[in-house]
């Protein structure tokens, strides 16, 4: 199975697999480099089933290193930004033996002082499979180390048949290398014999310039990033006519923003993706480009809604957390996504928000997304983020950080927000505090950051 992948890359020959910093690498280059790295791993005594921290963002070296480690049956821990804290967490919870850094070339060093894995990887060893550890970008505390069977993910996403028919697609590696969505983009590009275009920086102008230059057809991204493109007007500055499909995920899409995106990209199909680091990315169908309602159409994934929360069970489900109790799983093995969804009569559903982001105002529940979505319908508002703040009277109150379109004072903005929401929502949902901001704080994964109460 593992060697079959390399052979398949050989067969694809001269097709361009990766474009990284203006250099194009063919599928043959990819296969050759995977084989060369296999020898390098052996030289450094990186043994099968050793845990290896792979530090780097998308690049030709990091992509080939990931695949070489898979072929060598290692457990890979991809980390884009390796801070001291992250390394400490990984060392304590994942028992890594090696650190592989990808710059111009790969460098491998041993990691000392990691505790014994104490059987955490036994099932992978027994199956003779490679592994993958994803670190959750949890909003609080230590990231969760989520263990997957990498063989299962590769088999699921790459399949056994080559699907290189038709014109190869250029796909932008917008999502990060250590994110389930990023890996999904990469495997999706390789599956169709397409080209993974690697961005240097993920700024709206740079991404739009790449789309124009490489005639990119598929952009997997997030609602927040799409709004940054619209706010900056980059879709008018660059020729983005090559785009056929924009997939958005990682956070819920406000309906009003979707309407703005449709207006800006009338010829592009918009598809909502849905996935979690624990269950992988599911194949989805949006009700239409204009709808935030979607359906999970994936033979690999079952779903159900319990008390408003979406629960998933998939064949490529994670094996467990290495540093947390698996309380996200129900007794019967379903993963609680923490996403609150609403279903319509046709079997489509839409995400209303995160269970952890519900604001409780004196016992009344407020979902930030509902307000954000309505506010984005105002012609005077460019962007906004809604969150709860604690107070000793009603428990929490609703706060909104708003970026106005054009000049406005805070008092004017607050009056506008209150006016705009009055008669559209219940009184308790109207923000008590409105802050005027220059830009919404965005995480490195291009999700909105809501201040935690």
């Amino acid at each position: 199975m593992r060697d079959a992948i390399v052979r398949r890359f050989d067969e694809l020959g001269d097709r361009v697999a990766v474009v990284d910093a203006d250099a194009a690498y063919s599928y043959r280059d990819l296969a050759d480099e995977i084989r060369r790295l296999g020898a390098v791993l052996a030289e450094h005594r990186v043994l099968p089933h050793d845990v290896v921290v792979l530090n780097g963002d998308f690049s030709f070296p990091s992509i080939t290193a990931l695949l070489a480690l898979h072929v060598n049956r290692n457990v890979v821990v991809p980390v884009v930004t390796l801070t001291e804290t992250v390394l400490t967490t990984v060392t304590a919870s994942c028992s890594p033996r090696h650190l592989l850094r990808t710059g111009a070339d790969v460098e491998i060093e041993a990691i000392a002082g990691a505790p014994d894995a104490a059987g955490a990887y036994d099932s992978l060893v027994a199956a003779g499979a490679s592994g993958l550890v994803l670190l959750s970008s949890g909003s609080t505390g230590v990231p969760k180390a989520i263990l997957h069977n990498l063989d299962a993910i590769v088999a699921e996403k790459l399949g056994t048949r080559a699907r290189a028919a038709g014109r190869p697609a250029n796909i932008l590696m917008f999502l990060l290398f250590d994110h389930i969505g990023g890996l999904n983009s990469l495997l999706g590009a390789l599956r169709v014999g397409g080209t993974a275009i690697v961005p240097r920086r993920r700024t709206p102008d740079e991404i739009c310039a790449l789309i124009e230059k490489h005639r990119i057809r598929l952009l997997p991204t997030s609602p927040t990033f799409l709004n940054l493109i619209l706010i900056g007007g980059y879709h008018r500055e660059f020729d983005l006519s090559s785009l056929r499909l924009i997939t958005y995920g990682t956070e819920p899409m406000p309906e009003e923003l979707l309407a703005r995106i449709n207006a800006a990209f009338p010829k592009v199909r918009l598809l909502q993706t849905f996935g979690t680091s624990e269950t992988g990315i599911s194949t989805t169908t949006s009700e239409s480009s204009r709808s935030t309602f979607f359906r999970i159409d994936d033979a690999n994934v079952e779903h159900r809604v319990v008390d408003g929360e979406l629960q998933l069970r998939s064949r490529t489900q994670f094996l467990g957390y290495l540093n947390y109790p698996s309380d996200a799983l129900t007794e019967d093995g379903w993963f609680r996504t923490g996403d609150l969804v609403e279903q319509n009569a046709d079997g489509f559903m839409t995400v209303r928000g995160r269970a952890t982001e519900v604001i409780n105002v004196g016992g009344e529940k407020v979902l930030p997304l509902e307000l954000e979505s309505i506010l984005l319908g105002s012609p005077l508002i460019d962007d906004c983020v809604v969150y709860g703040r604690p107070n000793a009277i009603t428990g929490q109150t609703v706060c909104a950080d708003v970026r106005p379109r054009g000049e406005m004072t805070r008092a004017e903005l607050r009056r506008h927000v209150v006016d705009f929401l009055t008669d559209k929502v219940d009184a308790f949902k109207i923000p008590t505090k409105v802050n005027l901001i220059d830009s919404v704080t965005v995480s490195e994964r291009f999700k909105k950051k809501r201040a935690l109460s």
Partner: protein, 100 residues
Amino acid sequence: MHDQLLALITGVVEELNERRSEKIPTEDLPGVVLYGDAGVFDSMHLVNFLALVEEALEDEFDVEISLTSEKAVSRRVSPFSSVRRLIDFIDEEMRLAAAS
């Protein structure tokens, strides 16, 4: 200082009155009961009112004071029993803020 604070709170009440069918009388504002049996606000409207006062204080005096803190809520004499008490509380908090 009390006069300035009264003027500031009057401004906030006038703004709120624009949206209220039942207006809050502004002639004898210091005596108006904010919260409780005879209060003009329920808890949500009180929080809303206090947030506006906080914002006005920030704009006018460049000082950040929380009027919904545990401290405000747990005082023996509630700062929400009347506008006068609220002004006393704000004045006290502003002195503390200036001293620190």
